[in-house]
């Protein structure tokens, strides 16, 4: 099962990178989104894999046998931050205007 998980993570990364390298707005947004999934899965992997043993501590749970909660907490933070960043990126890409007039960056500080 390690292999399946690793392949899943790697494949999502590869697809994300492939999209990023196309360089257009829409694919970059998609690519960053995919990379976010991959990074989150990757963090999960740093704590090892356990099935069916969530870190919920009731009297019956053995701390030694519960899933590592720390990576999960990190992933949660990463998901939220990733969401904020993705939203910003989408907004930025939208405001950047149409794709066609390429290489027309406004190099000057406007109005200064």
């Amino acid at each position: 099962m390690e292999l399946a998980f690793s392949l899943l993570t790697g494949a999502i990364t590869a697809a994300g990178v492939a999209l990023l390298l196309r360089g257009d707005r829409f694919r970059v947004v998609l690519g960053i989104g995919l990379l976010g999934y991959a990074a989150n899965l990757f963090i999960m992997a740093s704590g090892g894999m356990l099935v069916g043993r969530p870190p919920l501590m009731d009297v019956t749970t053995d701390p030694a046998r519960a899933a590592d909660p720390l990576p999960q907490a990190l992933v949660l933070t990463a998901i939220v931050i990733g969401f904020g960043m993705l939203a910003w990126l989408i907004a930025l890409a939208l405001r950047a205007g149409a794709e066609t007039p390429e290489g027309k960056p406004s190099s000057k500080e406007p109005g200064s």
């Binding site: 990178v17 390298l21 870190p55 919920l56 720390l70 907490a73 933070t77 405001r95 149409a98 794709e99």
Partner: protein, 924 residues
């Protein structure tokens, strides 16, 4: 006040002229006062320094850690230099006072002039070599300002830039050399360095150090092949040329040779490098001087050649060579400064410096002409004048010196040849400017200058004669003290005298004199066609060519890098990542044996689904909607993976985030337009593919390696302490709000900032399209359904929020749930997307959320606990029983508010954009 004040007097004086000019006080007064005061200070030390040959020292720490101290020393050598700097400085100030027009920005002239004076004094007095470098560069900087004084002239700007660049190059080399000396000796103090001279000379880095220091000296003293900057620096006002480019700054280079003489000289390498450079400069300078038509150009090349002469003398290995060099240093300063001033007077009174246009000036300005002729005679080495003395000594030393390349005749013959040329150009200067028919077509009618403009020249020429007649009396002690300080040892007895008997040097002098006159007389025949091929601007053109080539290639480099493409940078970053991973992960892969390879159907199925969906994303990326659907399938697979791998909180969060993200994308997609087709060339495409596979492979391997090892981690603490200390069963949530609450605090801040950024980005659009149309267009029954949904969502949110600490849930998940409910209601009420409230008003809620989340943390600080320390209260309430209240609830409430406000701010903003094509108004 003692001698240590000298540099500071001038440097602080440099701050005054600007302000004084505003008060209508002549800045020349300050400059003159500084020079006079300095001269007085210097002369007071004569008994100790010159007569007794002592060395005065003083030291003030500056940056002790680096060995940089304001250590000054005054010895004979420094005394000689300071005397020149102050004495000629005083005369130059006097001269400039009458040379510059009163309406010119004299504050901008005397300021840098004083700064320069101070820097030069600093060089002369530095005991610390790093300090010497500091002053050294200061002279470059102040001379830049002085040369570019007439900033509107292109020549002045170019000349200033060139001088700064060339001497700047030398300064950096000198710095490197000094740093290495410090590394070898362990100190930058001159005394220490001289003490360890043997260590230094025996060190394997000695050749490098020597070359670096010499590079500094040679650029400053305009030695071949760096001589070209000096003639172009003549675009400066004449007082500057007289001061910097004859008497002082260019002498800094040879002064450096004198300073380094005790610890760098005396080796074969020094002998060859310094002697040959000096000889080449001497010959080339005097040869080129012969062809200059600009008076100052002629003098500039003559200066180059005389600097070569002094350099050559420092290169020689005879005992008396330094003494001869220092004598010539003094003499050259005196006669060349007066010549420059005379040239300036001619320029001032005739309006031109072109030797082809000048003629017969003796008649209208006899006094000036006489003075110039005497000075020129000194330059040519005519007896009874000071130039003759040092030239005789120079001849003597070339005869005594070692053979160069095994030939004993090279040095004396070269010296004589250079003297021939020097006589020739001196004759040319005198003959063409002052004799012949009266000049015609001049802008002004030539006449004698104002009295005070001539006084400095008169004094200097007087000095030429006085030294020439009674050298031992006037400068004998001084030169002796200077030379002793230079070699740091005993000198063989030698008296500078006019007459040493009829000897070889005298013969050489006579040959030079006669030869020079002959060369001048026959110059047309001798050098036919040479003149046309020699151009002043050759060096300049080469220099500017190099700079232009540098600039051009940098611009090409910049274009070639295609820095405006995001892919350029991404490829670089990812390629580095792949290289690093391949280097470190592949060997590790070989070492690890898989511990658990058992198949797990669920994960394989999820993996398969994800692979299928990924293929869909990649292949259908031309069709945004389809690609988004496929991408959300990937997201779903990831969510299920989280759920399967014991992470219910993650699964919930991911699901909700996914939902909102899809809503965002769907809102945005219509404005993106169609994604462009692949325009990459096939090799680039292949490389990109390889890069993607590389990154993917690295991630796969990294993941697999981590899963194959078991490492004890700090998590055990969280699992053990979550219930007793965190008061919560859901460890992930306890980590989020308590153990690592700071991360969560940061995370909601990021979310809030992102929303604020988006609101700011769309601000003017939002204002333009104030919600005007809020009429419900949705069927009524749908409205009731959504209302029901909303209530359900809010109820669920409250539930999720409250139970978060003990079961999957919490502020974030609850916030998303509530927000999604609200968004659905808005969407249902108004399909065009306009929300009930302006999204901008959400910024207040965002701020409130952040402040709320910070509240318990700050409160903890007020109670003396660390920021974000959780507080728990158990309230025994009647009927209900004991209620557990925790400050983390407030924190989580803040999170909740930020999340709801974020979604409500972002979604409507992005959802009701005008179409992606810029409207006419926006284009404008």
């Amino acid at each position: 006040m003692n001698f240590t004040w000298l540099p500071w007097l001038a440097l602080f004086g440099a701050l005054l002229p600007g302000p004084l000019r505003r008060l209508r006080i002549d800045p020349a007064l300050v400059a003159g006062a500084v020079a006079t005061l300095g001269l007085g200070l210097l002369i007071r030390t004569t008994p100790e320094v010159v007569v007794l040959g002592q060395t005065l020292k003083s030291s003030v720490p500056w940056v002790p850690s680096l060995g940089l101290a304001i250590s000054l020393r005054l010895d004979g050598l420094g005394f000689l230099m300071c005397g020149l700097i102050l004495g000629i400085g005083l005369l130059v100030v006097l001269y400039a006072r009458y040379y510059l027009k009163p309406e010119e920005a004299t504050g901008r002239f005397y300021g840098p002039l004083l700064a320069f004076m101070g820097a030069m004094l600093g060089i002369a007095l530095s005991e610390n070599l790093l300090l010497l470098v500091v002053f050294w560069e200061l002279t470059s900087i102040s001379s830049f300002l002085l040369i570019s004084f007439w900033q509107f002239s292109t020549d002045a700007r170019r000349g200033a830039r060139m001088a700064l660049t060339v001497t700047g190059l030398g300064g950096l080399a000198l710095l490197a050399g000094v740093i290495w000396i410090g590394q070898i000796v362990g100190s930058y103090e001159l005394t220490q360095v001289i003490e360890h001279a043997d260590v230094l000379k025996a060190h394997p880095h000695y050749p490098a150090v020597l070359c670096l220091v010499l590079l500094g000296a040679f650029t400053k003293s305009a030695q071949f092949p760096f001589h070209f900057w000096l003639p172009h620096a003549m675009a400066a006002p004449t007082p500057v040329s007289a001061y910097l480019h004859s008497a002082t700054m260019v002498k800094a280079g040879v002064f450096l040779l004198a300073r380094c003489y005790p610890f760098l000289a005396g080796t074969e390498l020094w002998f060859y490098l310094v002697t040959i450079t000096g000889m080449l400069t001497l010959l080339i300078g005097s040869f080129l001087a012969l062809f200059q038509n600009d008076l100052k150009g002629l003098l500039a090349y003559s200066t180059v050649s005389h600097l070569g002469l002094i350099t050559l003398l420092f290169g020689l290995d005879t005992d008396l060579a330094p003494k001869a060099a220092l004598l010539h240093l003094l003499n050259h300063a005196v006669f060349k400064a007066s010549l420059f001033m005379a040239a300036g007077i001619i320029d001032h009174e005739t309006g031109t410096r072109d030797l082809r246009r000048l003629s017969g000036l003796f008649k209208p300005m006899p006094v000036t002409a006489t003075l110039a002729i005497v000075a020129a005679a000194s330059m040519a080495g005519i007896p009874l004048l000071n130039g003759f003395l040092s030239k005789e000594m120079f001849f003597t030393e070339t005869l005594d010196a070692d053979d160069i390349f095994g030939r004993s005749w090279i040095l004396p013959v070269g010296a004589t040849l250079a003297s021939v040329l020097s006589v020739a150009y001196s004759v040319r200067f005198v003959r063409q400017a002052f004799f012949g028919p009266p000049a015609t077509g001049l802008e002004k009618t030539p006449h004698e200058p104002p009295r005070w403009l001539r006084v400095p020249v008169e004094l200097l020429v007087l000095l030429c004669i006085a030294i020439g007649v009674a050298p031992a009396l006037l400068v004998g002690d001084l030169i002796h003290a200077a030379a002793s300080a230079c070699v740091q040892g005993e000198l063989p007895p030698y008296t500078i005298a006019l007459w040493h008997g009829f000897n070889t040097p005298l013969v050489m002098s006579i040959v030079a004199l006669i030869g020079g006159i002959l060369v001048y007389a026959r110059r047309e025949r001798l050098f036919r066609g040479v003149e046309a091929r020699l151009s002043v601007s050759q060096g300049r053109r080469a220099f500017e060519g190099i700079v232009a080539a540098l600039v051009g290639s940098s611009q090409r480099l910049e274009r070639a890098l295609r820095l405006d493409q995001v892919t350029t940078h991404l490829r670089g970053l990812l390629a580095c990542a792949v290289l690093v991973s391949a280097w470190l992960l592949l060997p590790a892969l070989a070492r690890v044996s898989p511990t658990n390879t058992s198949g797990d159907l669920v994960l394989w199925v999820l993996c398969g689904v994800a692979l299928f969906a990924l293929a869909g994303v990649l292949l259908k990326s031309e069709r945004p909607l389809t690609a988004i659907v496929y991408s959300s399938i990937v997201g779903l697979a990831v969510t299920l993976t989280f759920a399967y791998l014991s992470a219910p909180d993650l699964a919930l969060t991911q699901l909700l985030v996914e939902l909102v993200a899809i809503l965002l994308l769907l809102a945005a997609v219509p404005h993106f337009g169609l994604p462009p087709r692949d325009k990459r060339s096939s090799p680039v495409r292949a490389l990109d593919g390889a890069l993607a596979l590389g990154v993917g492979g690295a991630v796969t391997i990294g993941c697999w390696l981590m899963l194959s090892t078991d490492v004890a981690s700090i998590s055990r603490y969280f699992l053990e302490k979550s219930v007793p200390l965190g008061q919560g069963n859901n460890v992930v949530n306890v980590i989020l709000v308590d153990f690592r609450g700071f991360d969560t605090f940061g995370e909601v801040t990021v979310l809030a900032i992102a929303s604020l950024g988006i609101l700011a980005l769309f601000d003017h659009l939002a204002q333009r399209q104030a919600p005007s149309d809020l009429r419900p267009r949705t069927p009524l029954f749908l409205q009731s359904v959504t209302k029901l949904l909303l209530n359900l969502a809010l109820l669920t949110a409250v539930f999720l929020f409250l139970r978060g600490h003990n079961a999957p849930g919490g502020g974030f998940i609850a916030g998303l749930t509530a927000a999604v409910g609200l968004v659905f209601v808005y969407q249902a009420r108004n399909p065009t997307g306009a929300p009930a409230r302006r999204p901008a008003s959400m910024s207040r809620w965002l701020a409130a959320g952040v402040l709320l989340a910070a509240l318990p943390g700050v409160a903890a600080m007020l109670f003396g606990r660390a920021f974000l320390t959780a507080g728990h209260v158990h309230l025994p309430l009647p009927l209900v029983g004991e209620v557990h209240l925790s400050t983390v609830l407030v924190f989580d409430l803040g999170v909740f508010v930020v999340v709801v406000a974020t979604v409500l701010a972002i979604l409507p903003t992005l959802g009701r954009l005008p179409l992606g094509k810029p409207t006419a108004e926006e284009e404008r």
